[in-house]
């Protein structure tokens, strides 16, 4: 597998991953604006709104032509918005690389935001919002983020606050798009059965707006972590959902890799000590997961989430606190640590079999660090990381007196 980058003649940064598929090409545009970085539109969910509206028409194609052209290419065209990025992706047979790039480039840079589509799409997003309100898993996530941040843009839901979202106009959308949808805030990432030269040849002729001058979107500051915060919300559902999150360094730093490894060793596998204890031995939780979320600005959230019966929340939280404390003191045995490392290496090898996954990981890394070496660097840190270094990071960022501890379920607090 070979990863290369260059700036194209039209100013667009390009990252190409040769590998992950023999016959397919995963084409992605990564835009360095997400819901946490919306500047004066903060809280409106404008990044997500733009993501929807880029499928509604360009100078050369109306919405039906966009959808049918993506369909004819046999590509699964879609997009997602996170706190720090918006990503547009299409996976096609590698022989269809040129038309796929033409279509996606047209959507990303040359959308016209037709007035007649604006209100209709706002209603579709309202439906999406209500769907999220009906889903307890979505609600616990939003509660966790709102409890975690007081100033940072990630305190708002990705879809936006209802009242701010409703006040947005089509002019806001056009201004936001023309400000941020420009190189170097936008990068093209292609992975799969492709060669760098071939991608450069096709991508060099794409029409791209002139580069952005000055600073790109930023996430806004949040003070240092000094306390533990709790939030409980009552909801008429059968089970309690819990979310315990900690702020920490970016996953593309050595310390971030150390922390990620410690949390995986604690709760990320079927043989992790916290998982074995809470789900199997004490049986206080039905499910326990660990994940991480990039919120931009070099910051990452590290999260334990769980599902438990009503009345078990205190027991789960006490056990998590106990494990964090114990791990920070006792660490992991060499045998245990080598087992996790080996398992992690297998997981890495497995994920390299998927072109779209490779494009996503390398795109995220490029947007965070501006380097194509960062993924390989993280892998080498993973391979050389000691249990002691990992445990030190754990003790610094993930402690019972820090983080947010939130829960949602019957009798958990205010409805």
């Amino acid at each position: 597998m070979k990863v290369q980058s260059r700036i194209l003649d039209n100013g667009l940064p390009l990252v190409v991953v040769e590998g992950g598929s023999e016959h397919l090409a995963a084409v992605q545009f990564h835009v360095s604006v997400g819901s946490a970085k919306e500047g004066r539109w903060a809280g409106g969910g404008l990044s997500h709104f733009v993501e929807h509206l880029l499928f509604k028409g360009t100078k050369r194609r109306n919405w039906m032509e966009i959808n049918s052209e993506a369909g004819r290419l046999g590509g699964d065209a879609n997009a997602y918005t996170s706190f720090e990025r918006t990503v547009y992706h299409l996976q096609v047979a590698n022989g269809d690389l040129a038309p796929a790039l033409d279509l996606l480039n047209d959507q990303v840079f040359h959308s016209t935001f037709p007035d007649e589509e604006f209100e209709r799409e706002r209603e579709v997003i309202n439906r999406e919002r209500v769907m999220g309100q009906d889903d307890p898993d979505w609600q616990i996530f939003e509660l966790g983020m709102a409890t975690m941040f007081k100033r940072h843009g990630a305190r708002f839901p990705i879809i936006g606050e209802d009242d701010i979202f409703r006040a947005l106009s089509v002019d806001d959308v056009r201004e936001f798009h023309s400000t941020y949808y420009r190189p170097p805030q936008v990068a093209l990432v292609v992975a799969g059965g492709v060669k760098m030269d071939e991608v450069v040849r096709v991508a060099n002729v794409l029409q791209v707006p002139v580069a952005l001058e000055g600073e790109g979107a930023t996430a806004g500051p949040e003070g240092p972590v000094v306390e533990r915060r709790e939030s409980r919300r009552s909801r008429d559902c059968d089970l309690v959902r819990g979310w315990i999150g900690f702020r920490g360094p970016s996953a593309f730093t050595r310390e971030g890799v150390a922390l990620g490894m410690a949390l995986n060793a604690l709760a990320g596998t079927r043989f992790s000590q916290m998982d074995v204890d809470l789900v199997e031995r004490r049986a206080v939780a039905h499910e326990l997961d660990v994940s991480s979320i990039d919120v931009g600005g070099g910051e990452q959230l590290y999260v334990f989430s769980y599902l438990a019966d009503c009345g078990k929340r205190e027991a789960v939280e006490a056990a998590v606190a106990e494990h964090l404390g114990r791990a920070a003191i006792n660490g992991f045995s060499n045998r245990e640590w080598e087992g996790f490392r080996c398992y992690g290496q297998f997981g890495r090898a497995r994920s390299k079999q998927f072109a779209n996954h490779l494009a996503d990981v390398h795109g995220a890394a490029w947007m965070a660090t501006g380097s194509v070496e960062s993924v390989a660097e993280c892998e080498s840190w993973h391979d050389s990381m000691t249990a002691e270094e990992s445990v030190e990071a754990l003790g610094r960022y993930c402690r019972a007196d820090l983080g947010v501890w939130v829960s949602l379920g019957p009798g958990e607090g205010q409805a």
Binding site: D76, L239, V279, E280
Partner: protein
């Protein structure tokens, strides 16, 4: 495909990728269980480890050798698979052998896994859309063993005894197995083949008789929902499993962004965010559920638009470009699956299961290439005109 003296054909393929990974999978087509939810619970318990070895020990030994073991259940069968780095294959075979010869089925694990399965049902019911799908499935299939899906019901699980589950495993684990392997090392392929032949001697897929579907209901069934949105569902009798590929193409085309439902309900009218077609494949038969989540006040409008589009498709068929794009999308999807070793074995197992020509993972691609627009139209007419069961609204 190799056929050894034991009579067990094992799909075996050298991946030629040189990435040092292997995948070994055994798939057990689902017989009719006696209790809803039993097979899934048995599968989860199987993954809890063999006698004399706790789950964490089993998984940590596999993990330390760069391997992972997974058990899963679908509406069509259950499976156990191991994937990993070639160096760990010997350990993986030893542990899998212990698991298959002497699963522990511990009492405390039985209680815990049963409680987790009940929680999984309750978790689904907390989500209005999944809750609606569960109710619709129960309504579509007359046979309660199929109507409840692989999770079963809380009542059936509470009544279930551990001994039933152990008896079921003893009876079923030796029959109707499909086995597949892919990897880099020819010698290792041979070793996995010999391993499989130790456990199983015959391979056969006997599809059960078609599941009886419920009698159609004529009024729109209105039930209390679990959220602010209304969930609209139209239920139809689907074709037999032998028409699984054509059903997949029809469902994908109708749900696609350039398909008629997305276009008319979401893009033109802004009535819903989520709209599509969900084929429900069960032992011996299928049902088709067309769904949309919308504002409660717009339920009747959504039903009218959905019905109108389904009627149009069943009379006129799909537009040729949509058909062509959907087939191409399927081709790309299978290509993506073939990019991973596990996906490659999974595709080959699917070919074997559905009796498709090819049996090397290409069977479905060949079937797609023979598919005509007229086949889709015939199925649409059959399902949407003749097979209507009824509508359900949860609001």
């Amino acid at each position: 495909m190799n056929k050894k003296a034991t009579g067990l054909p094992v799909f075996s393929q050298l991946s030629g990728r040189g990435d040092g990974l292997f995948s070994f999978q055994c798939f057990f087509p689902l017989p009719r269980p006696d209790t809803p939810g039993l097979v899934r619970l048995m599968t989860q318990l199987l993954g809890d480890g063999p006698k004399g070895m706790r789950a964490n020990r089993l998984y940590s030994r596999l993990g330390a050798n760069g391997c992972d073991l997974r058990v899963s259940t679908s509406d069509l069968g259950w499976s156990i698979s191991v994937e990993g780095r070639s160096e760990g294959a010997g350990v993986a075979r030893e542990l899998l052998g212990r698991l298959l010869l002497a699963p522990a089925f511990r009492k405390e694990a039985f209680r815990r896994e049963r409680s987790r399965q009940i929680a999984a049902i309750r978790e689904q019911d907390d989500n209005p859309l999944y809750y609606a799908f569960r109710l619709m499935r129960q309504r579509c299939f007359a046979d309660p063993l199929i109507a409840h899906g692989s999770l079963g019901t809380i009542e059936s699980l509470v009544r279930l005894r551990r001994s039933e589950l152990v008896d079921f495993f003893k009876k079923e684990q030796c029959r109707d197995v499909l086995v597949g392997w892919a990897g880099d090392d020819k010698g290792q392929g041979e070793a996995w083949h010999q391993f499989a032949c130790k456990f199983w001697h015959t391979q056969a897929v006997v599809h059960s008789a078609p599941s009886p579907l419920a009698a159609p209901w004529h009024e729109v069934l209105r039930l209390p929902g679990k959220g602010e949105q209304a969930v609209v569902q139209l239920g139809f009798a689907g074709p037999g499993l032998e028409e699984s590929t054509v059903l997949s193409v029809l469902s994908s085309a109708l749900s696609a962004m350039d398909g008629p439902l997305f276009r008319e309900v979401r893009e033109k009218r802004g009535l819903a965010y989520s709209v599509g077609v969900r084929p429900v494949r069960a032992v011996g038969g299928t049902a088709v559920v067309v769904f949309a989540s919308c504002e409660p006040a717009k339920v009747d409008e959504v039903i009218k638009v959905l019905r109108g589009e389904l009627e149009r498709v069943s009379q006129q068929g799909l537009c040729p470009l949509l058909f062509e794009g959907t087939c191409k999308s399927f081709g790309n999807r299978f290509q993506r699956q073939r990019d991973s070793i596990g996906g490659r074995v999974g595709l080959a197992m699917g070919d074997l299961f559905f009796g498709r020509e090819g049996k090397d993972g290409d069977g479905i691609v060949r079937e797609l290439s023979r598919l005509q627009l007229t086949d889709i139209k015939a199925l649409a007419t059959n399902v949407f005109q003749r097979g209507s069961l009824g509508d359900m609204v949860l609001a």
